[in-house]
């Protein structure tokens, strides 16, 4: 064997992979922060997440269930700035501030659960289809086509309506509707990535198919899924609020769509506040994740031209 120049101390070398990864992560973050719109998106996200996390400090939790709106029957539809109700109350005495703050938690719960479920299902199905190919691919993709042929909002609405009005059913309905996109993306990515010579090279050194999938194919095909997941974090809250607005979640729950719906009848009478504030929240949430997702795409996938 050839003499190897003495390297640095072993302890440092052992962690080199981790160090290299952190360096790469740092570079990624730096290029993300160069884009002002991405930063704006990130700021919105951080503010809204902060609100969700610190909800009990901003608005004292309702008992017994914090996700139920407290009702103040003595102050129906009071305007913003009233004592005890900074953002006013709804027609049925729900505190708008409470709904806005705890609604952020509800939205966070909704989007995190739905996105993790859909990514999990979508990536699994897409991976099997793309990796196996042939008949398996054909069957899975036809199923996906069926799902894609129905507009997502209407499909989710139908499922939620069939299951009955509750917040859990909205989560279920959204999960059923949203996974197909990931399956599509993942399959296309895998079919593209598995043609790469480094996959052959991995086979040549004796790696098993599962190992090749985990080491070579998955890390090189997951980026568009990450971007889509970020965008969906926003979209899902938007669709979820729509379903709640129509009345597919329990009445009285601290959720932005429900709040908008409660204030809807008062808009013509000039009581704008109970719809406007939660509506703005939905808008900011979706905007934040969309801006951030766009920035992420620009950084992770240099091939797509920035439209800005």
């Amino acid at each position: 064997m050839v003499d190897v120049p003495a390297g640095p101390a072993p302890a440092r070398i052992t962690d080199s992979a981790w160090r290299v990864r952190t360096r790469r992560g740092g570079e990624l973050l730096m290029s993300l922060l160069k884009n002002p719109t991405t930063v704006a998106g990130l700021v919105f996200i951080v503010l809204l997440l902060g609100m969700a996390i610190f909800a009990p400090l901003i608005a004292e939790p309702n008992t017994p269930d914090a996700y139920q709106m407290p009702r103040d029957w003595g102050a129906l539809a009071v305007p913003p700035g009233s004592p005890g109700h900074i953002l006013g109350t709804t027609n049925v005495g729900g505190d708008v501030l409470y709904g806005v703050v705890w609604g952020a938690r509800t939205s966070l719960r909704l989007s995190v659960i739905v996105v993790s479920l859909t990514v999990l299902i979508g990536v699994t199905v897409g991976s099997i289809a793309g990796f196996r190919g042939g008949k398996v691919d054909e069957i899975l993709m036809r199923i996906v086509d069926v799902f894609l042929s129905i507009p997502e909002l209407i499909f989710a609405l139908a499922i939620a309506a069939v299951l009955g009005p509750s917040f859990r059913n909205i989560i279920l309905a959204l999960a059923v509707v949203f996974w197909v996109k990931y399956a599509r993306i993942m399959r296309a990515q895998i079919i593209h990535v598995k043609e790469n010579e480094y996959v052959d090279a991995a086979r040549v050194i004796g790696d098993s198919p599962l190992r090749i999938y985990l080491k070579d194919i998955l890390p090189n095909s997951i980026t568009p899924v990450v971007v889509q997941a970020t965008l969906d974090m926003g979209n899902i809250v938007l669709v979820g609020a729509t379903l709640s607005f129509i009345g597919l979640s329990e009445a009285g729950i601290a959720e932005w769509g429900v709040l908008v719906s409660e204030g809807q009848s008062g808009i013509s009478a000039g009581r704008w506040w109970s719809s406007t504030f939660p509506g703005m929240m939905v808008f900011l949430w979706a905007l934040g994740f969309n801006l951030f997702g766009d920035g992420l795409r620009d950084v992770l996938d240099p091939k797509t031209e920035s439209t800005r």
């Binding site: 190897v4 120049p5 992979a17 010579e197 790696d207 070579d216």
Partner: protein, 442 residues
């Protein structure tokens, strides 16, 4: 070219059997218009320690032949239509323990004896007495133990053959984890399965069998020390392998991603990975085509140097005759899915016998050529869809005769170690007029 002096046109027949013998290999592809006979009855031997050049133009089937060794041809659309690739794995010479002695011809390695006859010679090993594996027949699992371990491969474009998402060190380490887990454990001083749980876990880690949870357990204090030792052992091996391909500062390069290296460096990494487990056969599929000329020369030198030191046999695939002349002991010329001529390098370049080989050699431009049009072989490569029983070069051949379109010429030995598949050298069956050298003008 002094690696194996025994191999040449004048030398006595090789005493040691070939590392690999391709026998009547047929690989076809199903397409919309018919079955493409991409490789159609290819036979050749790769001698022990020999560098065999497989030459031919694009689409002649040389890459498909090479890829068949490791089952890299996608099936479907590919079809294994017949033949065999016999491979005889080697191990460290038992009588000298790798130092080099009389019995192993100073190479320090020796072919493994046949399982069923233990060196006596039987049907199964083709009377060579050596363990013979048909690479087309064995299971995917068995093949995984051969890939990267006994047979390695270098690809054409090093830029595409490295995973862009993994640092170099981790990619090279993969080979050691995959095939040298025991050695790693020995290096790390954990081979005797010390503490019950830790020992088992660290063994699984060395064989790349750990799950995320187990990995996490290993990163905790009681086991962390062992894991650190194991990783340090791997890193040392990787650094050694990289240093052997003359990569400066291997410890630094290990932390780099492929895109941070130059083409030449990447190819060195690929070579380091390929020779890491000291394979018996190295398949180099146009390893320098994607590199510029100066780098190309250094990489060739490197491959030759490593081959001499490790006594590895090399199957060198190229379309560049001048390269092949430099590196190979023997050359096989492929045309349209067939081998048309094979001989020692010196005799093929000085005394080509097949009209196609002659045409190829005539087409090499040289400095003392007169200015003007470059020489080319007229016509195009034939379609390989359901080819008729005829010489594939008929139609482009200046010596073509009626026999050439009616019969298929077989490879015939004309002098020791020189085979040609052309009717000029052996008469076809039947009475058709056969081609002769004086039939130049059509």
């Amino acid at each position: 070219m002094s690696l194996i002096d025994g191999i040449g046109p004048e030398a006595a027949p090789r005493a040691r059997p070939a590392v690999a013998s391709v026998k009547d290999l047929r690989v076809h592809f199903r397409s919309k218009v018919g079955v493409v006979h991409a490789v159609d009855g290819v036979s050749f031997d790769i001698g022990d320690g020999e560098t065999l050049g497989l030459v031919g133009e694009t689409g002649c089937g040389k890459s498909v032949t090479a890829r068949s060794f490791l089952d890299l041809v996608p099936m479907p659309p590919g079809i294994k239509a017949g033949g065999a690739i016999e491979f005889r794995p080697h191990h460290t010479c038992p009588s000298c323990d790798g130092a080099g002695c009389e019995t192993c011809d100073d190479s320090g390695r020796q072919a493994e004896p046949c399982d069923s006859c233990n060196g006596g010679g039987c049907e199964g090993c083709g009377h060579t007495g050596q363990r013979t594996i048909d690479l087309l027949e064995i299971s995917e699992k068995d093949l995984q133990t051969i890939r990267g371990n006994r047979i390695a491969m270098i690809f054409q474009d090093p830029g595409k053959a490295l995973n862009p998402a993994l640092p170099i060190g981790e990619q090279v380490a993969e080979v050691f984890f995959q095939h040298r887990a025991d050695d790693l454990l020995a290096d790390a001083g954990a081979s005797d399965g010390t503490e019950a749980l830790g020992g088992a876990l660290i063994q699984r880690k060395a064989g790349l069998k750990t799950s995320r949870i187990e990995d996490f357990l290993l990163s905790l204090p009681p086991l962390r020390g062992q894991r650190t030792k194991l990783m340090a052992a791997v890193q040392t091996r990787v650094a050694e392998a990289l240093a052997e391909t003359q990569i400066p500062n291997p410890r630094k390069v290990m932390d780099r991603y492929p895109h941070e290296l130059s083409g030449g460096m990447r190819q060195r990494v690929m070579i380091a990975q390929a020779i890491a487990c000291d394979p018996d056969l190295l398949i180099a599929d146009e390893p320098t085509t994607a590199l510029d000329v100066t780098v190309q020369a250094r990489i060739l030198e490197l491959i030759r140097d490593l081959q001499q030191r490790h006594r590895t046999s090399v199957l060198y695939i190229s379309h560049d005759l001048s390269l092949v002349k430099e590196v190979c002991d023997r050359v096989a010329v492929m045309y349209a899915g067939r081998i048309v001529e094979s001989a020692a390098t010196s005799s093929i370049f000085t005394d080509p016998h097949h009209p196609y080989t002659q045409g190829l050699l005539a087409a090499i431009p040289s400095a003392n050529h007169e200015r003007g049009r470059l020489v080319a072989i007229p016509g195009n490569v034939p379609e390989l869809i359901d080819p008729p029983a005829a010489c594939r070069f008929a139609g482009r051949c200046p010596y073509e005769a009626p026999a050439c379109t009616a019969h298929d010429p077989l490879a015939t030995t004309i002098t020791a170690n020189h085979e040609v598949a052309c009717f000029i050298h052996h008469a076809p069956a039947g009475d058709e007029e056969r081609p002769t050298w004086d039939r130049k003008v059509r």
